[in-house]
Symmetry: D3
């Protein structure tokens, strides 16, 4: 059976796919339609389902596997599918979402071990206890969530992969600059994006939650630390806690990017820079893989729309 | 005895004054000095105390009343005092800080009554309980703190005065636009700047605290709401709570002004606009009072450096 | 007979509609086409008329009622109509433009009374005479024009409705801040958008006029005041006149938004803020009405592209 | 007798000087002081007059010649004078302001002839009549005013000199690009800065007037054209008039620089560029004259703070 | 036979056209397609060639003449051609690219004479030798290349036409401002865009080269001067050379527009302004020619998206 | 004998110091003065030398050691010295500049070894030859120059220290992201700031050269590579060369920071990020060293004016 990435314009096809996104929108005529993104292991494709009934909206949610009969078209330079027929996969068919999702390049166990190892290196008791408390509390989600809805590390387990990459860079910087407080920097790395487990709806059919849209993952971690202090009876006005929260709040680096304060301790500035490096490396590597030497990538939204060149030079 | 505002260039004088600010700085020669702001009922004046010992730094803190022997000079267009001699006021002398501070134009009791009245109009139980809980918890500070270190409402009780002015505007807008959710808007007004009681050090010798500098008052209120939910057993993931928090987080209107999210519910946008109006009215009125009709004020920092004209026209 | 908002994709239909806009453009092949917006009470829809002759361009102007035979399609996520046949409505048919336009929510008489009442409260003779003179001169248009081509108050009578809403807010602010000069603020509110009656072509088929595009409504009112001074023999160099003109010129608040000067008197700053509130309230209320609780609006162009959330919370 | 530019630090001196500016300010101690700029043919120097009485403020206005006994000091890298004694020059002494002012490099008669010649080349009757009308009305001021308070062409007659330089560039551009409408471009050049005769107080002791501060010279010319139309019975809604006004309104090129509309006809864009060239040439030439080859000028405020290099190369 | 500009929507046609651009892109299905721009004397039209083989990619390169059988459609408001059949023109057919290209309005010989004449006026030996050396080296390309891929002077020979227009303006400015160093200014004009002969691929099927994308034409000229110094044994650290290079490097005026330094000598600032004038004149004239008096042009990308009005006034 | 950092306000002193900077400026009275920065091992101090003769200007150049008799004062919050007497140190006295300069924390030999080691790892022959050629050519200067006039690594040998720190980070990133081309990244690191040896005047009395001001170090390296290609007979249009130049040209990351192109290959983006990290680490560490735990640094110009907090937390 063909995969999404094999489809050519004007192909008519039938295949099982996962509903990755299912946005219900109101057309200007007052009727609802569903803007689908379908996914299999090989790629994604969008398609609109016009005039959806309440029933259909209920049935075709993100995370469901469907049997799709469609035609491959092009709209505004982007492939899309004209939906001819659609039905849910039955239990006799390959209906499990996991079969259709992109896999993390690293094993969860390896990530967990590297993270646990690092926690031992956090010698400040306050930070150690808070980090441990929060990672335990959100353990399952932490190893399953992506690091973003789109852009970088947008796959199952992406959040943990991103965290571990950053830890490694943090460690080499601590070696090069011994003035850095390693305990603080590692704590910041481990917690900085943990709010994504509340900001996003989950690894499958990932959407922003209401809290994600109205509060954002930065503030969400901050609240989690506050509540951890209540639970662990740690004084929230202590410098240890304020400084740790600052790490999280400042990690986007600029007010314009959603940090309510700019980095004002050295480790917070460094955390921001490491986050930058890993996120942009992931975006560039992902895009360059898809082109041949001597070609340019598409414009990368997360890199200010630049198109990157893949050299032939070695 | 002369007051600060009576001093003329080259006057040598002796008077009791309150230390409003006492910033210890490191001069480039490695010695410490104290950058003082002195205050009496009539005005402020700055003065530097060179080569301060640890002992003197400990003794001359913000909030202390001192007997100052000095000479009125001018430095960079600003009056300043050359400190000749300095000592703490004794208990036989007028040593109470309150004697030297600017007074609020409104009685605390009147403010409290208006606020309590408004709380009755918050008909949503979640918001009502959270607002009540937090105002009770920070009751004393709320009626004593200024609304800012400098700029607008920078006097004892300024925070409550600012809050009540905004409530009145909120009420007239709710009348004009019935689509506004009054309960939500009032809750937002009441809590929006409450974080100042943690961001600032207090009504006397007001400084930013470490939490103020590294977290900021916006995030501080958000944390307070999270902890109130724990205490009151309110589900933090409920829409009621998320929406209330959003009011606070978005009230600076722009990411650039320190809000981690922009207003995305109507009442949050309105809260931001009301805050703007009251803060700018206070700055403009304060500056215009000091000039004659037909003159311009000084450049107002909080109003993008504009100099405002006071018309003769009536 | 179906209304525009009832049409579903692929519907073929016949109906009477008003031509709201009819932009003649040059296609790259050198032929002209008309980009129509059609309107009935229920909504708008766009459609292109390819290869229009001079005759047809002359015949199908904005403001005409036509009988339209078309097919409802979708183009770039927006409904549009493919025009099958088109002819002017005859006098035997419902051919009056008024039948197809959005109605103001308020009666013209009520608006006029409230405005006239306010003029009495302008106690400065210069301002009173100028305001009265200009409102009389543009009386008819003032009560018929919309306040904008799109965005807020874009309906017949919208300009007067917007003006009256702002007057009410102005009055409550004058009560809260007695330092405001009420005569000046009311004069500013009454005149601030009067230039729209020259900037825009009229209530039906609203377009920008040449003066609208090349001068803008702000400068147009300023000129009107100059000419009123000539007619009324008021000294244009008097402070009264300069200050009134400044109110108008500065009311967009920022140079970037088309004001040639920023507000430098207190009432001008306040006028700008009131204008902001009423315009944004109108845009938010309009958009939120069209979605259900728990949903987001479309991106609002006039609100920096934000999508607003309509809470379930009450 | 020494001139201002000959004074060395610590010189005590007596000389006749013209008061170029006399800003009365309120010191923070509530007393008034006068911030003087003194001028003779050779240069300017600032000095503060502390504790000025109403009488002295009245006596020492900009435009008066005074006998100054002072000491040359330095303040913030800028020469300044400590005022020891000050009195008005008597009629027996060289008391005429003209003796102390910078002279225009060109004769008024030559400028006038070149301008009148150009008016003949404006073949559009509407523009010709309006230009002629306004230049006659403001004739005296037009040939005496500077083109700016500081920066470029800040000398007696500077406005006319600036205008004529621009006319010459305009003529060579019309020759190179025959598509330009010369009548329109020359009309724009002749009127573009005429508002300065109302924006500024005059050639001596130049200050911004109230109209200058609150309306600005751009809008002032626009009003003058409106009134000229009334006087000349020209239809203000005709395209000729709208287009001419647009030239003036758009000539700062950007909203940010105070134009309420951006250039949208070709001649308006060109007018803006010519204005730019002549203003920046004047600033650069003025600054480069004061340094030797191989040196840099001071930072030029009107050129974004750049310091320009004067090459040795020829 | 019809020309491109005569085609009407839905026309099916056959004609010879030149391939102006042929971008090979990877569709999301992994197949390649060619995004063509076809050109004849009368205009351009785009068309996509789906599922192109390596063979076809090799065959249909920019610069080739093809026989095209297609259908004229519209996509996103832009005419485009649906490609029905395509083959290379044979040598029996009109297969020469030159037949299908826009012509320069000026003769190459006239341009060359004017340029050579100007070189005589460069009296500084260093600049004269460098200019002469580089113009000789790139002689052929200099008179054939366009000045830009799109926007202004985008025709064969456009680079030389642009250079000569600028020379003329430079000459009239040198007459008006004798303080300008004419040798330096002319040298700057002659070399400023010479890097385009390396930045762009050529007059036919113009594309950015790799050097164009990764280095840019500004830096390329700078390198050329460095190498000319080596060849001519001119000391690269001499002021003459540094100043000449600065002219080139600074000619975009702003860092934001790709100049690595801002103009810091007077002639560099003027060079930037002249470049601006000629480029914008060319864009405005080109667009205004295509509309009737009383109409607006399309939004001009190179002029910040402004639509220009063509007046009826004369 | 006292050192600069021991001086207290009002101290009168005599000591040997090195002239670090000696800017000759024109005072407004037409006389020249020298703005000195003096330096000894312990710190810097500024002082002005009024009314300098040509002779004195010639004698007291940056790099000379002088015997200074002065008084320690304060001006605008900055220590400065009032110069009482000044003479050159004689050869009997400690007159060698090296005695008064800040030392690099690392040995030149260690740096050289690490760099030479790295060159072996550049396996691409073109890059290897160019890097080797240029490092040999500028060998002496490379190990002596600072990396900047002020800000980061502003000490003898700072350029090499900065380069080596960056190399180490580059290596750990290559390990973490094997997709990076290590040869290219190391080549970029080694050459990126080499232009400083021409941009700056030298390790003593560091000033910007004319080439530094008018061309900038980024373009200077680019030229050096061009000339190296000539010398080594490497084809300058080869991708290897273009890509290497791009690394240098893009390394400031943004046009606004002086890069004529933005990074468009992955290694160029990474080079920019590494440069950022090392420069900001150096600035933050330098400033934090000077304050106690619990204090804030001064505003750091190179870090957008932020004041950094040094935590007590460990």
């Amino acid at each position: 059976m063909k995969k999404i990435r094999d489809l050519v314009v004007d192909d008519t096809f039938e295949m099982f796919v996962l509903i990755k996104q299912a946005d219900v929108r109101l057309a200007k005529n007052g009727k609802k339609f569903i803007a689908f993104t379908f996914q299999d292991g090989s790629g994604n494709i969008d398609g609109k389902f016009w005039g959806a009934t309440e029933d259909e909206i209920e049935r075709y949610k993100a995370g469901k596997v469907v049997f799709l009969n469609g035609k491959r078209e092009v709209y505004q330079n982007t492939p899309q599918v004209k939906i001819i027929k659609l039905r849910l996969a039955t239990e006799e068919e390959p209906y499990q979402a996991e079969l259709y999702m992109e896999k993390s390049p690293v094993q969860k166990e390896d990530l967990a071990e590297e993270i646990n190892q690092t926690i031992f290196e956090i010698t400040n008791a306050t930070w150690n206890r808070i980090v441990r408390h929060l990672l335990v509390e959100h353990q399952t989600a932490f190893y399953e969530y992506p690091a973003a809805k789109n852009f970088h590390h947008a796959f199952v387990g992406g959040l943990a992969v991103h965290t571990v990459s950053m830890l490694r860079i943090a460690k080499s910087l601590c070696k090069e600059y011994p003035a850095l407080n390693a305990s603080l920097l590692y704590s910041g790395v481990l917690l900085h994006d943990l709010g994504k487990v509340i900001e996003l709806s989950g690894p499958i059919g990932t959407e922003y939650t209401l809290a994600g849209n109205l509060l954002g993952h930065i503030v969400i971690v901050d609240e989690e630390i506050s509540k951890a202090c209540v639970a662990l009876k740690i004084d929230e006005q202590s410098e240890d806690v304020i400084v740790l929260k600052h790490m999280i709040l400042a990690h986007h680096g600029q007010l314009d990017y959603g940090s309510p304060v700019r980095p004002r301790i050295m480790e917070a500035e460094v955390l921001h820079q490491i986050d930058n490096i890993d996120a942009s490396m992931q975006m560039m590597m992902g895009a360059l893989e898809q082109v041949e030497p001597g070609q340019y990538t598409n414009a990368l939204f997360g890199m200010d729309g630049r198109r990157f060149y893949r050299p032939n030079s070695k």
